[in-house]
């Protein structure tokens, strides 16, 4: 995973949004991830074909009080976990 990586939601995964977060659910395995508000925002940015660097920049704008390196690390770890669990798939290949 590098800053130009692009991911997309795995079509087999069920996404459910609530006021204060969201869930990802794999109906085949029962695997479940719950996301808080910032996770939900990060996940929603995958829809726009953004790469990791663009997502980080957007999140830094949304959370100006947070340290950018911390935001970068949080976003990367979050997406890495989702990729390893097959909730998201690599979409690039620019």
């Amino acid at each position: 995973m590098d800053s130009t990586s692009v991911f997309k939601q795995n079509d087999k995964i069920v996404y459910r949004e609530e006021d204060d977060g969201a869930f990802l659910f794999d109906p085949d395995t029962g695997d479940l991830r719950y996301m808080n508000q910032s996770g939900k925002e990060t996940f929603s940015m995958l829809q726009g074909d953004k790469d990791i660097q663009q997502i980080v920049e957007n999140m830094v704008r949304l959370y100006p009080e947070a340290e950018p390196p911390q935001v970068q690390s949080d976003v990367e770890n979050f997406l890495k976990d989702l990729e390893e669990s097959h909730f998201i798939l690599p979409a690039n290949n620019r």
Partner: protein, 356 residues
Amino acid sequence: MHEKNLAYPLNCLYLYLADQCNLSCGHCWISPGFSDAPEEGIPLDDLKKTIFEAKALGLQSVKLTGGEPLLYRDLDGLLAFLASEEIHVIIETNGTLLDKPIIEKLKSCIIDQISVSLDASTPELHDELRGVKGSFHRTIKGLRLLSEWGFDFQIIMTLHRKNRTEIPGLISLCKTLGASSLKINPLIPCGRGEAVFKKKRNLDPNELIELYRMVEQEWPSNEGIEIIFDLPVALRSIREITTRGVAECRIMNILGILANGDFSICGIGQTVDELRMGNIHRNAIATVWCDNPILADLRHNLPGRLKGICGRCLFRFQCLGACRANAYATNRDFFAPYFLCQAAYETGLFPNSRFS
């Protein structure tokens, strides 16, 4: 020889050491007899042998409960054995019998958790709910001892209609006494709790959910006191799920031993005879754990055969239907929906986003 079932490690034994209790709580799901005399309970020699054998199945901890576990005549011997085997210990007690000799014995053990029941912040209401006058002061005395000796402990309240306003008072008591958490358990319609439901002294799902939200907003865990409102995961907020994770029915990794030495899936065998599965005197625990047809049925069919709202819930793989013992006790069906989630669904309170 039983390697095939090590896919289900037996992490914890729930030891219902005594089937008597020195309190008489109207809601108790185990329904023990009333006595304040020390009780023979689970035969210690057989119990030691069983615990030792269970280590090969993955045993790491035991929960000492009852009845009142501190009435168990061989408690000293059991604690010494658990300490020597380095088995972790969880205790659920009403706290009234805690004294210095018991505390000293506990100090020699690896204690994971001590949970003490306290239903109100005032003696009148607590004693009324617990059925014995003076029990509040005796429990407080026990809690002070735990605190003085540096134990990490939790206070558990069972939520009735009558004590629903006691939560702030109990939070204050937790702070004063040095408890690390307050666990709020809704009543379940099991054992004596069934009669409480019939008299409508429990909270309805809408009242429970409203109170849950109020507790989360008004008293977010602070000043070191964690507030755990024990609703099924499908009815909890994402904020809490992300913080505390998904609680599940632990039926795949625990086994109960009742006061007469009978095995059961947990304590439910105390009130539902057909869920007794042999006895520690006659049966090896490995045989029960690996070959018992009740456990095999549960392992093969959870969560796939869950019915009602549980079968449609997004969380069914993690939650396993909240409490399968309760489902069986109330429906004679291990796969019946959990009463609270089903009631929430039928009254339109189950979140739409949590259907799969």
